[in-house]
Symmetry: C2
Subunit: 405 residues, 2 copies
């Protein structure tokens, strides 16, 4: 049994037009008008495929294909939101390959023992509302529903109000429930599969992630008449931290990554010494103890930078997810599927967080990666060749069939 | 003859309410609704003081008190726009002390040979439209009217459209014309007068200023699965430049200042490696050759940072004003005025640009400084004690009388 490559390709193109950027990328922020349109499209396709569609309190969308027994479903999922000027593969591809796998079951009139459920999770990216993967976090019981509802975007708009506005504030409780297995196809977002000429990555787990936010408060002043000797420049201290964060991985682990992705200056004009700078720090490593060590180095770097420039600092380690090993049963199913298809594959760790990370807390979970050209993602240049997508989707289909037995 | 301290204090309080921030500062961006209201208030007061009010093509407002002869006027001026979350003294104080000086002439029914004109210049700060002092620049013939009209704010709104919207697109040509002298009272914005316990600074000139803008373009990518070895992070390069700019003055001149005041990151989210960063560089020194040397050091630092991180750079030195010496006749009048009042004063250089800088190209020009508490300005904490303001305003009044003879 195989998926229909042409149908899958058409779905990718069609859904990719919703929120498309002039340069061929995607801006489809969570719970925006574009997100709503993409959700509406998915719901329409899910209904056409005969799925029973439901929406939960977090706006997660589920489409169930009944099994022959009243058993917990095998869930295939991902997300349709994107980062600003992101690409057309991150998230969307997993949802569409899952839909294609289900359509293929329909084509062949295959019955499965366990039901199969397609899941679309709300606000996976964390680009608009923090933290990322907020809705699978609620489902896993890790994030309180009320906290998620009160998450605000940069304009102060609450997540729950946007859910309601776009018509996806569902009634179904967003709580843990019996799930046979959770399986997510996703782009690798790194360079390894492409470098090694492999179509499929059998994901063994996800690295540990720590997010911190930092604010330096110096003395806002006029850039002209304020002598260098009396300055307390929040941006100078921030520059020290950007350099220090960049240097952390080399001191601790070859697999560690460290990034300052967001930095906001106030008042942010040419002729004023920055009085306040806030910035984000993202640290990841496969080993929990390395993340802990990195946070300690960050603490030191921030204190040193603040002292050197005479500015105040507030550093908050506000989000942390330990490394997540995926379930041997799901990893095994993925591996057998790839092998039976004769697809070149390898085991791999995910450097990015995914909804599968939270799902792993409540059911056997796993992921399948397909390559990212030049390792790039979260950008308009994001691309995966259709040959690899086809291999990945077939691997997903077979692994799902395996798990529904 | 003396100014009326109480009346001046009331005017400062009243005008300061227009655009007041919750913490007692001022946000009154050029050509905003707040700027319009402040202009309307000034025009009303100028008319009450019997001045003939006119508005030129750049929205500069002039209020003329006739002299006994048809001679060029002595012009007293400053501005009413502010930076975001700025203070209530920068600009506004000069305009109100000028108004108070004219009101005092009226009180005493003093006639002057030369007319006296109060001038309010458009967009002095450069916080909304660049470059700063755009309207005196047009008046001096340095900036083309069309270029000024086409200056756009961050939202792409043109200066000329905002002039029209708020009703200050006047008909009078904005061109050089005969002016007996231009005199501007302003806050020092630096620490020297306060440190030395002096009420008045007799400004000898303005330092040279160079503004540059820089954009680094790296590779936007996901902060998780992208190994450190393949990164081209625009913010890391920018951090190098922030540090390098901070280090330039120590290498060249004790009077030099160097500032990165604006820095914008794209896409500016926690889990994306910054693909693009743009920032501003502000360099100032009393000696032109030092500014030139600083720009050369900046060029090197930018090239080095771009090479080290493997990112592209675009550096543009887009605005430069040479050091401006003020006219001995005006400096002398200021100094005699302060001495005759028995006010503690000193000669001083201005580290900030002012409209007086452009006016110096078309007439004898000078400035009077009053102290800034803790040397601070362009912030809500901006403050000048009323005793110093009174001394400064009286110095302005006497110097103006001297020049109108």
């Amino acid at each position: 049994m195989k998926i229909d490559r042409k149908r899958l390709e058409q779905s990718i193109e069609e859904l990719g037009r919703i929120g498309e950027t002039p340069r061929g990328g995607l801006t489809r922020l969570a719970l925006s008008d574009e997100d709503k349109r993409a959700r509406d499209q998915m719901v329409a396709w899910m209904r056409s495929a005969g799925l029973r569609v439901s929406v939960d309190q977090m706006g997660n969308i589920f489409g169930e294909r009944a099994g022959t027994k009243a058993l917990p479903p095998v869930m295939l999922g991902s997300h349709v939101d994107s980062v600003p000027t992101g690409g057309k593969y991150d998230g969307q591809l997993g949802v569409l390959c899952a839909l294609e796998a289900i359509r293929s079951l329909n084509d062949e009139r295959v019955s499965t023992r366990h039901p199969v459920t397609l899941a679309i999770f709300t606000n996976e990216e964390g680009a608009r509302f923090q933290p990322a993967m907020i809705a699978s976090g609620v489902m896993a019981g890790t994030i309180a529903l009320e906290d998620a509802y009160n998450a605000r975007d940069r304009n102060g708009i609450r997540l729950v109000d946007e859910l309601e506005r776009i018509g996806y504030l569902g009634a179904e409780p967003c709580v843990p429930r019996p799930i046979r297995a959770y399986l997510e196809l996703h782009i690798e977002q790194g360079p390894f599969l492409e470098e090694e000429g492999r179509s499929v990555g059998v994901v063994e787990g996800i690295v540990g992630i720590a997010w911190s936010r930092l604010t330096f408060t110096g003395v806002q002043d006029h850039a002209g008449p304020t002598p260098m000797r009396v300055r307390h420049d929040a941006l100078v201290a921030a520059a020290d931290v950007v350099r220090a964060v960049r240097a952390i991985p080399a001191r601790l682990s070859p697999e560690m990554v460290a990034t300052v992705g967001r930095l906001d200056v106030s008042p942010n004009i040419t002729n004023a010494i920055p009085g306040r700078v806030s910035l984000s720090i993202d640290l990841r490593d496969p080993r929990e103890e390395n993340v802990t060590r990195a946070l300690a180095l960050l603490d030191h770097a921030v204190t040193d930078a603040a002292r050197a420039e005479g500015v105040r600092c507030e550093l908050e380690h506000y989000w942390r997810v330990p490394p997540t090993p995926f379930h041997p049963e799901v990893v095994g199913a993925d591996e057998r599927a790839a092998q039976s298809l004769g697809v070149r594959s390898r085991r791999i760790l995910s450097g990015a967080g995914h909804d599968a990370q939270y799902m792993a807390a409540i059911c056997p979970a796993g992921m399948i990666f397909v390559p990212s050209r030049n390792g790039r993602s979260h950008c308009e240049e994001e691309f995966t060749p259709m040959d690899d997508i086809e291999h990945g989707a077939n691997t997903l289909l077979l692994a799902m069939l395996d798990l529904t037995q």
